[in-house]
């Protein structure tokens, strides 16, 4: 039951792609990969941890790296120790997320760190051969990622009802941003404009304590932050195939040491850095994620680590990521099922368009994965809002379109409520209406509307004969821009400036 202290998400009755036997086969093959082939690790501290746990290590790659063969026992103990239920906090208590591997409660959020921010304007056009024919059409302008655009994105996502969490989605490239101050400014810009959970990767491990202090100030103290971890981290630990890179491994160690929630993510590309066939891809990515989760538990048993699956397929003409591929959906659903098998909440991927602009192609590519991956019961679906051109563009208008579409996805996935009581009430209704002169059930719809069981028309529907979805999305964006406000009080902002170094001057964040 939702007692109002966390977001409801969408509780789905998951569908399954893999049989129990197939899950077992994939599990065994991943264990074989880890035990027989092992991973290549470039971080000495991690090597020591694995060694102490009973793994077989050997120097490789001209003494720059070690091969670590991880036996089944070590992996299984880590899986046992990893929490099956993870709470991600939020500045607004009601925005907290409960990720429980035993229930298919689906949350959707943003993702990637795009370099391009795509603005949309609607312009009027006149037909060149018949000036009486006019039409409205979008014009797109590509802009560079900046702090202000990250602020704008956070403000937008705070206002969109179907965005459950905010992963920083714009790469800030302002002049004053450097490796040493980027992380604190990313988290500050995000938390200034959203009261939802904020998640990001770290550029510089030395920023970690600064970022945690920011979280503590916003949460109201160290103890409050522990109860309500309103920020968390993504660690792209693995470079596929099977390599743990030095700096990200160190970040995982430090974050785990502090017991903070983190995503252990791997993003192999089927056809280039992973096998293209489903069973090969899943055997590999599952091994990679299990190796990462094992590391978190060796550092600090009980570290809240999400099973972070970002498997993609390669396009065969360019070897770019191919998010609209049906295989992308297959890979992701399989990973959701593997995570469930291990009782670890799943960070999954859906809703990316290969298209460079909003439209039919983007909608088709996004919707299939949003629906199918959510239907599999992934707890935490990132990349679901505004991403175009694979993960290179964030488009606010596309995020509004995605919000409307995810609203429909949630309705589609609403589980059935069939029990003796409601079914009996329906029989009474049928009896009543068939005995009436009108024989219409319309009057009784209202009761079901109050139960939240009657879905609404498409949220961006137009009034005329034209498809007005894009225009309506632009209008909605304008409305949000004019009304949404900062989420931090002046007192909290002042305290942040007083206690935390590296935050750029306030005018950099003023929308």
């Amino acid at each position: 039951m939702n007692d109002g202290t966390f977001r409801a998400g969408t509780l789905v009755a998951p569908t399954f792609r893999l049989s129990e036997e197939q899950i077992r086969i994939l599990h065994d093959s991943s264990l074989r990969v880890l035990n027989d082939l092992g991973i290549t690790c470039f971080n000495e501290e991690a090597v020591s941890l694995f060694e102490e746990a009973g793994c077989i290590t050997a120097i490789s790659d001209g003494e720059n790296a070690w091969n670590i063969r991880i036996p089944e026992k070590v992996v299984m103990e880590a899986i046992e120790s990893a929490p099956s239920r993870i709470v991600l906090g939020a500045p607004d208590w009601a925005n907290r997320l409960i990720l429980d591997s035993r229930e298919a409660r689906v949350y959707f959020g943003t993702g990637s760190e795009t370099n391009i921010f795509l603005d949309t304007e609607i312009a009027d056009f006149v037909c060149t051969t018949d000036s009486s024919i006019t039409m409205r059409h979008p014009i797109y302008k590509e802009k560079r990622g900046t702090i202000l655009r990250l602020c704008e994105s956070a403000r937008l996502c705070d206002s969109l009802p179907n965005v459950d969490f905010f992963i920083r989605n714009v790469n800030i490239q302002d002049e004053g941003i450097s490796v040493s101050n980027k992380d604190i400014n990313v988290f500050f810009a995000s938390l200034l404009y959203t009261a939802k959970h904020v998640q990001a990767g770290l550029v510089d491990i030395s920023s970690l304590d600064n970022v945690v202090r920011l979280g503590e100030i916003i949460a109201g103290g160290t103890a409050s932050f522990q109860d309500n971890p309103l920020i968390s981290f993504i660690a792209c630990l693995i470079k596929s195939p099977l390599q743990m890179v030095e700096d990200t491994t160190q970040k995982v160690i430090e974050i785990s040491r502090r017991g903070l929630p983190l995503v252990i993510s791997s993003s192999p590309q089927g056809g280039s850095t992973a096998p293209i066939q489903e069973e090969g891809m899943v055997s590999l990515i599952n091994a990679e994620i299990l190796a990462g989760i094992t590391l978190t538990q060796l550092v600090n048993p009980g570290t809240p680590a999400l099973y972070g699956a970002v498997p993609v397929r390669a396009r065969l003409d360019t070897l770019h990521d191919f998010y609209g591929a049906p295989e992308f959906i297959h890979y992701n659903i399989d990973c959701v099922e593997m995570a469930r098998f291990y009782n670890i909440p799943c960070y999954s991927t859906a809703g990316v368009g290969d298209s460079k602009v909003p439209g039919i192609q983007a909608t088709v590519e996004k919707l299939f994965s949003q629906l199918a991956v959510a239907q599999s019961g992934a707890q935490y679906i990132h990349y679901a809002f505004g991403l175009l051109d694979r993960t290179n563009i964030f488009c606010p208008v596309q995020a509004i379109l995605d919000d409307a579409h995810i609203s429909l996805v949630r309705e589609i996935l609403r589980p059935p409520i069939v029990n003796e009581e409601v079914t009996e009430a329906s029989i009474v209704e049928i009896r009543k209406v068939t005995a009436s002169s009108t024989r219409l059930f319309a009057r009784h719809i209202r009761k079901q509307m109050r139960r939240g069981l009657v879905s609404q028309p498409y949220g961006l529907e137009g009034e005329g004969d034209r498809d007005e979805a894009l225009e309506n999305a632009c209008a909605k964006l304008k409305e949000i821009q004019e009304t949404a406000e900062k989420q931090l009080s002046d007192e909290v902002i002042d305290e942040i400036y007083k206690k935390i170094a590296g935050v750029l001057p306030k005018d950099n964040f003023e929308l």
Binding site: S437, T438, R439, L440, A442, R443, I445, R446, K447, R450
Partner: protein
């Protein structure tokens, strides 16, 4: 309950769309309290005049219409109000025979022969009842002969013909032709509706008006009612 209070309650219950006490009403909180059926019966026992009751029902339906126009109500709410009024009118009818209350006119409505689709026709009938017309709903799949017979029997001023199929809409023409040959056509206004019909089709078969939906039917009737 005294008369004024009873009238107020009847209006409230029409606006809430409560046919009887088993309805929970628009706000979902009224189950178990008397609805329009119980209240109207009570009013009859108290000898409240038919005219006063009908005025109250009409006023309440105006409120329902305003709420629909403002977007507060959706079609189910509008139909619930109309159904409440229709039920009240059925209860009141025997008591109005000797009173000076007149309906807005008698409206015979049917889905034509060969077509059993009656959802649209039922919605129109419900809303017309709610709007104060004396509606005689003949049902679905009704022959031209039966429709014309009903027009004579009820001395109807209006006929509404409905069809959903392109194969049955042509039967509307047969009804109008039969009314002409029976000498009834000039005394009766014929309104048609249904998915395949159009203003052009109405003109072609000699109907008085084409109604896009139930709401347009009421608007058209308001315009052509003397």
């Amino acid at each position: 309950m005294v008369a004024d209070e009873l009238i107020r309650e009847i209006k409230t219950n029409v606006v809430m769309g409560r046919v009887d006490s088993s309805d929970e009403g628009y706000d979902g909180k009224m189950e178990g309290k008397p609805g329009v059926s119980e209240l109207v019966r009570d009013a009859i026992k108290q000898d409240i005049s038919g005219k006063r009751l009908i005025d109250a029902l009409s006023e309440a339906m105006v409120t329902v219409g305003e709420k629909y126009d403002s977007g507060e109500y959706l079609i189910p709410d509008m139909l619930a109000g109309a159904e409440s009024v229709g039920t009240a009118m059925d209860i009141l009818e025997p008591h109005l025979i000797h009173s000076d209350v007149k309906s807005k006119g008698t409206f015979v409505i049917a889905t034509v022969e060969g077509d059993l689709h009656d959802i649209g026709k039922n919605i129109v009938a419900t809303l017309l009842k709610g709007a104060g017309y004396n509606v005689k709903d003949l049902g679905a799949g009704i022959s031209a002969e039966k429709i014309v017979e009903a027009v004579k029997e009820y001395n109807a001023e209006f006929v509404g013909l409905s069809a959903l199929l392109t194969t049955t809409m042509i039967k509307m023409a047969s009804v109008i032709e039969l009314m002409e040959s029976e000498g009834l056509r000039s005394k009766v206004k014929v309104l048609i509706g249904g998915a395949p019909t159009s203003p052009d089709f109405a003109k072609k078969i000699g109907a008085d008006a084409h109604c896009r939906d139930a709401f347009e039917a009421i608007d058209i009737l308001r315009d052509i009612t003397p």
